[in-house]
Symmetry: C2
Subunit: 234 residues, 2 copies
Amino acid sequence: HLAIDHLTKIYERGKVLALDDVSFSVDKGEFLVLIGLSGSGKSTLLRCINRLIEPTSGRVFLDGTELTALPQRELRRWRRKIGMIFQQFNLVKRSTVLANVLAGRLGYVPTARTLLGRFPREDLERARRALERVGLLEKMFVRADQLSGGQQQRVGIARALMQEPELLLADEPVSALDPATSHSILKYLEQMNRQDGVTVLCALHFLSLARRYGTRIIALKGGRIVFEGSPSEI
Amino acid sequence: HLAIDHLTKIYERGKVLALDDVSFSVDKGEFLVLIGLSGSGKSTLLRCINRLIEPTSGRVFLDGTELTALPQRELRRWRRKIGMIFQQFNLVKRSTVLANVLAGRLGYVPTARTLLGRFPREDLERARRALERVGLLEKMFVRADQLSGGQQQRVGIARALMQEPELLLADEPVSALDPATSHSILKYLEQMNRQDGVTVLCALHFLSLARRYGTRIIALKGGRIVFEGSPSEI
Ligand SMILES: Nc1ncnc2c1ncn2[C@@H]1O[C@H](COP(=O)(O)OP(=O)(O)OP(=O)(O)O)[C@@H](O)[C@H]1O
Ligand SMILES: Nc1ncnc2c1ncn2[C@@H]1O[C@H](COP(=O)(O)OP(=O)(O)OP(=O)(O)O)[C@@H](O)[C@H]1O
Ligand SMILES: [Mg+2]
Ligand SMILES: [Mg+2]
């Protein structure tokens, strides 16, 4: 389903080697967890997969197609299959919760403000269901900057669900949430994974969550893979 | 040291009752932990204490002075005694790590960019020590937007330490950090609390951290205090 082949990323400024020759593959329907210390390369890896950041060298394949070789126009089409939950939420703060969630239908382009009138009825219905899932239906018409930290994170999760992606890249999706809310969100991602067959790559900080939800774990340290295996082995 | 007296906050938009008649007091040198579900009112409470948000009714006293009655000019002087670690870091993304940390000497005004040349030598020394404390000395001249999520959070912590505050308001200071980095940060806050006598109010999501570091715990639910007591009782 997804193959990462000798991926290296050096950030120009500061010559930081963020990813160092990372290779692994992910079967369809796996729930792969990425763990590692702060600064170990988790976000860089996820962002190289959907090319929000361009890798310095190496290749990424999704269903046999090399994403790293696609021109921008085609990349945009492929990105519709890849949902992203951002570490810093990336909401359009002045837009409503509903507008932010509807933007999920557009891939990553959060220009919801201009398009709000043009969404079909079934997208509005989908948005309601996604907000219900994350426990925020009553905040639908509230502006994103009037939510608590954890509520904003849940809007970002609902937006990614709107895409009904084949592959979900989740970058610390529950960092701003209390344990009870974290589990209800991760259980939902697990359900998407098990029932809808969505492949999930999820960066998490807590080994306890990685063991509970992951089918496989990859640990990063200084940009290199230092562990790969089943949750019971780590 | 700090007294909260019948504090209520209703956000105008959406008529949300975020805090509902909250009263408690904190002795000098306590490490008080606030826990509660996402949306329960933790951030609102911390921001009402330093008046980043104006309470709807109720009063806040620090060392006998009523903060809620101070004019803006005097409030700015009192805020120098109150450090704040923000839930969403609040860094000046285009400025360097050093500029962001030096801004801590100015209270909450992150206009570091213009003032950089005017900091005395001992402030530069203080900034080096604060960055060393949080493990980011080597990123001193890097722009804040070129750091990982956890690294950005640690810059916000170093900035608050620069103020050498009497009272530290920490809003989920370790949410973007892995457990090992979290403990090293919280141990340092505990050291400031025990050795320098800094009073700490810290919102945390995890009961395990609250029990380990808190001298007292207050739990919020729907804006009301539902528990107040020692960590061993909860
Ligand atoms: N600027 C605002 N305008 C309107 N409502 C707000 C605003 N900020 C927060 N709220 C609402 O007030 C309530 C309390 O929010 P608060 O940010 O204090 O929660 P919290 O306990 O810090 O949650 P979290 O753990 O998610 O950070 C929530 O219902 C939230 O939606
Ligand atoms: N835009 C950037 N420019 C330069 N260096 C960067 C940039 N973004 C990240 N880095 C560096 O690359 C390394 C890896 O960062 P990355 O964001 O992938 O870490 P992470 O594992 O996600 O950490 P965290 O748990 O703190 O989110 C870090 O040393 C960081 O400072
Ligand atoms: Mg990250
Ligand atoms: Mg909060």
